[in-house]
């Protein structure tokens, strides 16, 4: 595959002063553009043993239903040519409806939900589509600055079909009032690139009286793909 240079402002700034922990963690040197045929051509192989029952329904992992607003999130993963990224691994993780992660380091004074752990994984299908059921995550405070609250988000980890397509990102919800105040969201300086992180509500994906639907399409890097994985 071919990996063209990404326009300025599309990737987040590696050092973005308003996001304080970037000050010492962000690399200062521009990444070195290299030829590495293995990283752009060798297909990642996925084995069926990777998935377990319930991995794509985060509401079924407890003794009973978790608290909060049940939603379904779906979308299509493509490359820059619009070709589906098939049979590729996607991982998601998030906090619960009250804004608390199931994680020993999360000290937010909000309740854990004994029926919600907030992580899942699945493979894209032949069209590059994925779909999972979860609870709408809550906003939560973090210590970056006074009244620092993260807009509600779901973390996504995507492997694509070759190593160079690897991506970790966050999906947001429409019209969140916290967007202007969030330095993580705004570390992406190109407004259009930020907007592409926001899912859209979909009445078509909404399931009857059960749950609202959101659509989040993802474009991974790479062009001129040859068909992988049959």
């Amino acid at each position: 595959m071919r990996f063209d240079a990404i326009p300025q402002g599309t990737w987040p700034d590696l050092i973005y002063p308003e996001y304080k922990s970037t000050a010492k963690r962000g690399p200062q040197q521009a990444p070195l553009r290299v030829k590495a045929p293995v990283a752009v051509e060798q297909p990642l192989g996925y084995l069926a043993s990777l998935l377990s029952e319930g991995d794509s329904d985060l509401t079924t992992r407890g003794q009973s239903a978790p608290l909060g607003e049940k939603i379904v999130v779906t979308g299509r993963v493509t490359d820059e040519d619009g070709k589906p990224v098939r049979n590729s691994l996607v991982e998601v993780w998030q906090c619960n409806a009250a804004g608390r992660y199931f994680h020993k380091r999360d000290q937010h004074n909000a309740p854990l939900d004994p029926n919600f752990f907030g992580f899942g994984k699945f493979l894209t299908d032949h069209e590059g589509r994925y779909r999972f059921v979860t609870i709408k995550p809550g906003p939560y405070p973090w210590a970056n600055h006074s009244k620092a609250w993260r807009p509600a988000h779901i973390h996504f980890s995507l492997f694509g079909n070759v190593l160079a397509q690897r991506l970790v990102t966050q999906m947001y919800f429409p019209a969140d009032p916290l967007f202007p105040y969030d330095p993580i969201f705004n570390s992406v300086t190109d407004a259009a690139a930020r907007d592409r992180l926001i899912s859209r509500f979909s009445i078509d994906e909404t399931v009857g009286d059960e749950m609202l639907g959101y659509v989040f399409d993802i474009v991974l890097r790479g062009r001129d793909a040859t068909p992988f994985g049959l």
């Binding site: 990996f3 010492k24 963690r25 990444p31 570390s187």
Partner: protein, 168 residues
Amino acid sequence: MSQPTPSLPITTSQTIGPFPHEGWRWAFDAHDDTRAVQIRGRIVDGAGAPVDDALIEAWVPGATSGTVLPGLPGLFRTHAVEGGAFRLCLPKHGVAGEPAAYVTLFARGLTKHQFTAVFLADQTDAPLLAQVPAERRATLVAKPGEGGGHVWDVVLQGPSETVFFDYS
């Protein structure tokens, strides 16, 4: 070269944040002293402070099966611990001209994942390493460790910053 057709704009990155561990745990690789390539190191920031919440993925070229990670042949995922310490226990591959592993780093405060690679002392004739300016190559080469194994430290920022890649 011409650009005949417009491309779709990519989905950008956001930091992994401090809380990925539970969701990523299913694929954490157990330390295995029997594997042929034992690499240990520390990941530090621009002030020399440990990055104890980093996530590290090592992908061994050429591996197609036989690894213990469930589902992703050749991929070894681990996380840094106290002091920024990490261990990579990898199989030795037989692919000439390749690093011991292609490495991807993630951390809170790192707004985008970083691609790099680790080479052993007998892999320094690799074409990938030849593309790195000579004065920075040492950041990608593991040194022999006391008592065996290899030592490779990762520096996110500063004069001895590890070389990070943009694959083309």
